[in-house]
Amino acid sequence: MNTEILGIIVMFTLSILLAIPFGKYITRVYSGEKTLLDPIFNPIERIFYTISGIKPQTEMDWKQQMTAMVTINMVWFLLGMLILMTQGNLPLNPDKNPSMSADLAFNTVISFVVNCNLQHYSGESGLSYLGQYWLMFLQFVSAGTGMAAAVTVFRAFRDKSTSNLGNFYNYLVKSCTRILLPVSFIVAIILSFEGTPMTFEGKDNMVNLQGDTIEVSRGPAAAFIPIKHVGTNGGGFFGVNSAHPFENPSYLSNMTEMIAQLLIPMAMIFAFGYFIRRRKLSWMIFGVMTIGFLLLTIPNILMETKGNPAITAMGIDNSLGAMEGKEIRLGAQASGFWSIVTTVISTGSVNSMHDSTMPLSGMNELLAMMINAFYGGVGVGLLNFFVFIILAVFISGLMVGRTPEFLGKKVEAREMKIAMIIALLHPFLILVGTALAAALPQYSEASLNNPGFHGFSEMLYEYTSSAANNGSGFEGLGDNTIWWNISTGIVLILSRFLPIIGPVAIAGLLAEKKFIPESDGTLKTDTATFGLMVFAVIAIVAALAFFPALALGPIAEYFSLY
């Protein structure tokens, strides 16, 4: 078998093999059981709580949890605006980069607070090292926020009937210190030995072998890059993200970053099963997600390997595949694989330029974000999937004529309304955003990098990436304009907090209900049949809502090229 395909298989298998035990570890962390890292983190967390005056043992119901979450996110947002708009005059700015304009700072802070990392700037020229590290802080805590919300849902299904769902701050801090940090630290060490810089010295001047003078951007990147993957944030230190030879210097660093981003989204699925003591349910969820993931990723690898037919027609040796926007050390196959991993989970880091991928590869990247529930971002992926489960439970219940139930709780009108709103919000934001941009060419047309169908795809991609809190882009789009900064900023806020609050509210409402023991009449949710049902719901919601838009963009481009 060829070495490039073998590389992909090893990355994927290793991620799964590591995710299962790591899921067990996550369960132990959140249930407060003993772990190996207690001696390090118990004292550190004690300092956190003493200074902040928070009592991590206080139980909260779902409304108190969400209030705490929104409040601390507001604090991060305001502080972030302050830092990014003054960074030019603050320390740690060896390259003398300027402060951000208000609209760019708004977009940047929002997109890092909501775990999206859209990045309408380029790291080398748009941020000081202080600004970079402020964003790194947001990468930790925004990932922690998503995980904390997911654990609230876990709790709702563990106890038979309760309104106490644990403490938000406790979950947030533990996610950051005991789960995100140790993994990031290991990845940071691997990256720095593979050649990623970790220096505060700023740009270097040099004369190259041919005699031209150039500058080389460096920076304290080795600490920053791990959390962008481990927390499925995706915001890169350098402009081109993990395509940059400092950010991703070798095939080994590429494998490391790949496993780092798959690890926690997968592990959270297994943690869910361990936590509520229903491991079969984990396997149902994991199975559906994996099938969906493979259906998107295999075609991409094949299409990128085959390369651009218009270039093949020119008569050159096209056997390396679609190399426009790709790096030789990574190759077309590993880049095609990455393009789907980063879009199904909400990382949005790239190791090749998605704008230059083949038309239907671009479509699969879009579909991955439109569905946004195959693995998904840390914590929030599971929340999105949970909404689809609720929908599937309801529809199956109607089909067999029984009261819809999930894990012993009746699903009634109120929960269904929330689930419907959340499921429809996502296509609503994407399609309305794109429609507005297309209808107002005075704001959008000048920013397009490609004409025709592909130009439409660039706009569709930008809103899809925002609504999925993904952060990757068809980067040709000149997106640092007031139109793009503000409109995607609004999409970002709505598409982050409602899809967190919605599922937590459903779980909170279900948790308060009476527990109905399983009987012969209960619809079993941990079976392959039910998995198929969930898959069908996902396919129908995504296909029906998005097909017309996809037909105007990537599908039309495909038929113009082949």
């Binding site: 956190f48 080398e124 402020w134 810089p197 218009a310 040796d317 926007g325 230059s356």
Partner: protein, 187 residues
């Protein structure tokens, strides 16, 4: 919400200290033992230093050309062309690159030109090209430098970097290392 504000601010401050000061310092400390102490790997050649991982523009005929770059290999920034696969202007540009290559490399058939030599990389700083990209330039370099092709082929052979642990990923050549090795054999 009010009673959450103060704890939220205090928790934020202490967490900033931990995640943006203590954690990076720990990584920085360990990076001091990495190649070139975390300042980016370098190659020394004739008293000058070059970054191993940062590709350079090679456009003159006596060197192996590197891949096209959307940012001219200026590593102050980075960037790809972001051209879509069906963009007519882009396809014309690729065709021009093929024609230019053929002009500078007489005796080469079009079907021998590998695609990486006529397409821009993602970062614009790709330090590598494919083995075929080196082989297709041997004739020209031999002519310009006046050395036998066989000698150049040996240099190429010595500079091929195999897949990771021989089993994973593509094989490749570091263009800078190859050109330095080329300078070392003379002319």
């Amino acid at each position: 919400m009010k009673k959450n504000i103060l704890p939220a601010i205090k928790l934020t401050v202490i967490m900033i200290l931990f995640f943006t000061v203590i954690y990076p310092l720990a990584v920085w400390g360990i990076a001091q033992f990495s190649p070139n102490a975390g300042k980016g790997e370098v190659i020394e050649h004739k008293g000058k230093k070059y970054y191993t991982n940062i590709g350079q523009a090679f456009t003159v005929d006596k060197y192996f050309w590197s891949r096209p770059s959307a940012v001219g290999y200026n590593a102050a920034g980075s960037g790809g062309s972001n051209k879509g696969p069906s963009n007519k202007e882009y396809l014309a540009q690729v065709q021009t690159r093929i024609d230019t290559f053929l002009v500078h490399n007489p005796g080469i058939r079009k079907s021998e030109i590998p695609v990486d030599l006529v397409t821009a990389s993602g970062s614009g700083l790709d330090p590598n090209f494919s083995v075929q990209a080196a082989k297709v330039q041997v004739k020209r370099i031999a002519m310009v430098r006046g050395i036998e092709e066989q000698k150049i082929n040996q240099v190429i052979e010595r500079n091929i970097e195999r897949p990771l642990w021989r089993n994973f990923g593509p094989q490749k050549i570091n263009v800078l290392k190859l050109n330095i090795a080329l300078d070392n054999i003379g002319k």
